[in-house]
Symmetry: C2
Subunit: 174 residues, 2 copies
């Protein structure tokens, strides 16, 4: 079976602070279909471990699920920044911790999004300063034992499950 779709056109549109792409595809059966694809950039996220194998958690309110979550540090990769630079900056700004950062891999945010998630681990993390939070960030840092974090991954209260498992896999901890 021919599975390939062929993009005929693409229009960049805005919806409040969000962006999306109206893409028209020629389908394998000759029909055309319109898809409104989320125009989302690169995000980065890190499984950061202290020397005692505790996970550095950025406890914060999330406006999608509307509750306080025990999340992993991370955020948007800014223009002109590499994902590695972004995650080092985010970890330090959000938590005050830094460590030896290694790139783990990427994953696709959603089949209907252009977004890519860059996953990292950080070893031997230590607190070297107070967090430098942005105006709309309210974050409390927690250290979670790694066994508890592994249970947390299946709790339903995390938007960073892929980073958690990919990081543990990379570290040989699964």
């Amino acid at each position: 079976m021919n599975l390939e779709w062929k993009k005929i056109s693409e229009e960049s549109l805005k919806a409040g602070y969000r962006k999306y792409l109206k893409r028209i595809f020629l389908m394998p059966d000759g029909r055309t279909e319109v898809y409104d694809v989320k125009d989302e950039g690169k995000v980065c996220c890190v499984l950061a471990l202290t020397k005692k194998n505790e996970v550095v958690i950025a406890k914060q309110y999330r406006p999608g699920p509307e509750k306080v979550l025990f999340e992993l540090p991370g955020g948007l990769v800014d223009t002109g920044e590499t994902p590695e630079e972004a995650i080092k900056r985010e970890l330090l700004e959000e938590t005050g911790y830094t460590g030896n950062i290694e790139f783990v891999g990427t994953s696709l945010r959603c089949a209907y999004s252009t977004g890519i998630r860059y996953h990292f681990i950080a070893r031997d993390c230590e607190k070297i300063q107070e967090p430098q939070l942005e105006e709309n960030e309210f974050i409390e840092v927690e250290l979670m034992p790694i066994e508890e974090f592994r249970k947390h991954l299946s709790s339903g209260n995390l938007s960073d499950v892929a980073t958690g498992y990919m990081g543990l896999e990379y570290l040989g901890l699964l």
Copy 2:
């Protein structure tokens, strides 16, 4: 630190086929902030294994990343349907396979989305009919050995990483 935001108002808006919610929050420091949250529903996804421990893959083109991916079966939970009913239907429609389905858990699709992903495993899957594809679905079924699937999870060519790892964890296969 007080981490809670208080929602002051919410407006439901459309952007093409997409929906979003303009939410205004009172922040812990007394300011107000506007967030355009993706208004996304329930989706379901399954790690479906045959008796030979092969993963049932729905190979298909994805309009976000614009390429053919080896994805897990799944889709939207329709109105009036439970997630369990939805995943049984999606697995059968997309692949022609059915099996013993068990609920694994949920995860949050994104910190800026209302969407919840329902993860399932299916044991002892067998093909009982030809796939019943919808008009805009072009799917080829592949069976992938589970060792190969575990590598595939870190390949960057998958939007279902959480389902894969949560399913393997649930099955005691990590």
